[in-house]
């Protein structure tokens, strides 16, 4: 009797499980309610000014499209390290979010466009008149074969040298504008018992490497690294690597345990003289209650005066987006003057559009806006502009090995190999 009851119960449980599974499938394929719809937007903006900026842009979106539900699918992790893994998994599974964040440049073209995962947006650009207001330097970086693939919302600068004005003054050091001046300045500081350079974990070293490459090679040869016209095995690149190795000797010994915030904080707290970091550091300094030009000063990294090494966050439209109409509405806001003016002052970046109101921005950002429109523009490696993900990972690995063994020749050989296996070199 008991056994029969047990068998009956088991059957019932199995049957209900099967029914539940069918029910789930049915609900998922149900069409969105007329007029409403929802848009799922994927990013790695989960903290500080980034999250606040996204919230501000979502607010603008909700006012314009009150019927569309906005789903904020942000995944935490600096520079998107964790978010991109989650995204890759969802794309593999054929379950894309409607729209996601991608760095303008090769991260977008070499990864998502190459994988056939995102839709061209030419019609949207024409309908919204964006071609007239987006910078000419930017459009080719988000295009392939005449198709434009994403909507940039902001511009950040990577080649910024942050310094502590008080420390420089006390030691009689001028702000350096060439690599040699920088080394001389750091020698003076080191002799005076000051920590010359603050450095953080591995990705901040990659960030430092790209600015040293730019500062040593100059803008044209630097650009040539990424299209194959500058030889990675050349004597010039060797000089750049030697310079990088020398820069590392001025850094703090505990760099591996510091985040970029920790390292940047050493400068404003007076524990170190210099730090190389993107201009999101300015937003962090303001958050710490520090004053521009008193607690911190800025200059282009040595050797890159007159060059703006940039990166840009942009949003895309997924192939097979669950709700393409709502996703397009989101992209309209992301590209609009109103959306970008709400987002950028809070996030601590400048608008991708050229017609934003300057008075909304702080002191550092106004100087960045002036440089963006007058300087020569090159792309960042660490932040996805100049190399695809595979190439960047190979360079990062070579860098990691170099930091632990210090062998310049092995490093250069590995860089040559990386360009051949994953870049344009043959």
């Amino acid at each position: 009797m008991n056994k029969k009851l047990f068998a009956l119960l088991s059957t019932l449980i199995l049957a209900s499980l099967a029914l539940a599974a069918c029910g789930g499938g049915g609900a998922a394929t149900q069409a969105p309610a007329a007029g409403g719809g929802k848009v799922e937007v994927f990013s790695w903006w989960t903290g500080g000014g980034e999250a606040a900026g996204l919230e501000a842009m979502i607010k603008v979106f909700n006012e314009k499209y009150p019927d569309v539900e906005f789903i904020n699918a942000a995944v935490a992790g600096g520079a998107g390290t964790n978010a991109r893994a989650v995204l890759a998994t969802r794309l593999q599974a054929g379950d894309p979010p409607d729209s996601w964040q991608g760095h303008a440049g090769q991260e977008l073209i070499g990864t998502y466009v190459a994988g056939g995962q995102i839709e061209p947006l030419n019609e949207l650009y024409e309908a919204e008149g964006w071609l007239a207001v987006m910078p000419e330097t930017l459009i080719p970086l988000i295009s392939q074969d005449g198709n434009i693939y994403s909507v940039p919302v902001n511009i950040h600068r990577a080649n910024v040298l942050w310094y502590n004005p008080g420390i420089l003054e006390a030691n009689g050091v001028e702000v350096p504008s060439t690599m040699d001046e920088w080394f001389a300045a750091m020698d003076t500081l080191k002799a005076a018992g000051v920590q010359p350079l603050a450095l953080g974990e591995q990705w901040t070293k990659l960030h430092l490497l790209e600015t040293v490459l730019l500062g040593t090679l100059g803008a044209d040869a630097y650009n040539g690294l990424w299209d194959g016209s500058t030889d990675w095995g050349s004597a010039e690149v060797k000089t750049a690597i030697d310079n990088f190795a020398k820069v590392l000797t001025y850094a703090n010994t505990d760099s591996a345990s510091l985040s970029w915030q920790d390292a940047a904080q050493l400068v404003v707290n007076g524990d170190a003289a210099f730090n190389v970091m993107g201009d999101w550091a300015a937003g962090y300094f303001i958050e710490l209650g520090k004053t521009a030009n008193t607690d911190y000063g800025w200059a282009p990294t040595p050797g890159s005066v007159g060059v703006f090494q940039f990166l840009s966050d942009s949003f895309v439209l997924a192939v097979g987006a669950p709700d393409p109409e709502a996703a397009t509405s989101w992209l309209k806001i992301a590209g609009s003057k109103e959306g970008q003016e709400a987002f950028n002052p809070v996030k601590g970046s400048i608008c991708a559009r050229t017609d934003c109101d300057k008075t909304l921005f702080g002191e550092y950002l106004q100087s960045a806006m002036a440089d963006w429109s007058s300087n020569k523009v090159v792309g960042s490696l660490t932040h996805g502009v100049v190399a695809n993900d595979s190439w960047k990972t190979e360079i990062d690995t070579a860098l990691g090995l170099f930091v632990s063994d210090g062998n310049v020749d092995t490093f250069q050989t590995a860089l040559v190999a990386a360009c051949t296996s994953s870049g344009p070199c043959k």
């Binding site: 068998a7 088991s10 199995l14 390290t81 991109r84 893994a85 890759a88 998994t89 794309l91 593999q92 990864t111 998502y112 190459a114 994988g115 056939g116 995962q117 974990e201 591995q202 010994t253 505990d254 760099s255 591996a256 345990s257 985040s259 524990d271 993900d389 595979s390 960047k392 990972t393 190979e394 990062d396 690995t397 860098l399 990691g400 090995l401 930091v403 632990s404 092995t410 590995a414």
Partner: protein, 295 residues
């Protein structure tokens, strides 16, 4: 004697689990093997046959050499440390001291914490900053006048992995203590008494009677700790992030697959991990099943 009707019912009842295991474990292992033999790179699946190239490239890869070296250091320090400390704690507790239950729980509690939490705490304890920015254990050493003990911890060149193993020892030695304590309690008191009558010293009793009888416990602990240390990932990421100096196969697998989109290489690392864990576990399971059948 099981009746035929019961046999059928048993089969029906366990078939969902068998099916799930077949699909979600063995089918995916098979799929990973297939990917590891392919040229797949990028977001689009590409099953072009690549033979064993992903594997031969890994064996020539300087980063993978760092991974193997780091894994050996971690495994050596972690397994030896946990076994020794666990055995020591178990022997201490076995002396019949007051408040044994309290100490037993105290030593076991770290095991209940996830590696991530352990990592965050030890990241702070093992802060390698020097000079005016001392903190964590280094600051403690400086307060009590033991400045010479201040260490660069996980940022020590080449041996940083041993510092990560310290955190893992803290977490898992309580577990080995529990295993050894159970083993010690299972040894009949008569054996000890007989040895004492024969004039054996306390040390001799442990060396010639207790330790040999605890050999099966040591083997179990060795296997459990060993396969954990081969797969370690979260503890390292929580303490040090993804630094190449502290790279292990699991972290390389993650970065190759998700950051670099080298799916073929990532799958090859996964298969090598599977093989190394299997080489440890399968002989053990066979041994255990055989001894159980004999009893």
């Amino acid at each position: 004697m099981i009746r035929d009707k019961d046999r059928i019912l048993n089969l029906i009842l366990i078939s969902p689990s068998i099916l799930a295991v077949l699909i979600f474990i063995y089918a995916f292992i098979g799929w990973s093997i297939r990917v590891s033999l392919s040229k797949w790179k990028g977001l689009t699946p590409d099953y072009t046959w690549n033979g064993l190239n992903n594997f031969t490239e890994l064996f020539a890869d300087p980063r993978f050499a760092v991974d193997v070296r780091n894994t050996l250091i971690f495994t050596g320090v972690f397994v030896a440390g946990s076994l020794l400390l666990g055995f020591f704690l178990a022997v201490m507790l076995d002396q019949g001291l007051r408040g044994e239950g309290f100490f037993r729980s105290l030593f076991l509690f770290p095991m209940a914490i996830s590696y991530i939490v352990t990592g965050v705490v030890w990241r702070w304890l093992m802060n390698p900053a020097m000079g005016t920015r001392l903190s964590g254990l280094n600051l403690l050493f400086s307060y009590i006048g033991l400045d010479s003990l201040a260490s660069a911890w996980h940022t020590t060149p080449r041996w940083g992995m041993a510092a990560i193993a310290l955190a893992a020892i803290w977490q898992m030695s309580g577990y080995t203590m529990a295993l050894y304590l159970a083993g010690l309690r299972a040894i009949p008191q008569e054996l000890k008494e007989a040895a004492q009558i024969d004039g054996a010293s306390e040390l001799q009793i442990y060396r010639h009677i207790m330790l040999p009888l605890l050999a099966p416990v040591t083997l179990s602990a060795l296997i459990i700790l060993g396969h954990m240390s081969l797969k370690v990932f979260d503890l390292i990421v929580a303490i040090a992030g993804k630094q190449l100096e502290l790279d292990v196969p699991a972290i390389y697998m993650w970065q190759a697959t998700f950051d670099g989109l080298f799916y073929g290489r990532g799958a090859a690392i996964g298969i090598l991990l599977l093989i190394s864990v299997a080489a440890l576990i399968i002989p053990y399971i066979r041994f255990t099943l055989k001894t159980e059948a004999q009893q």
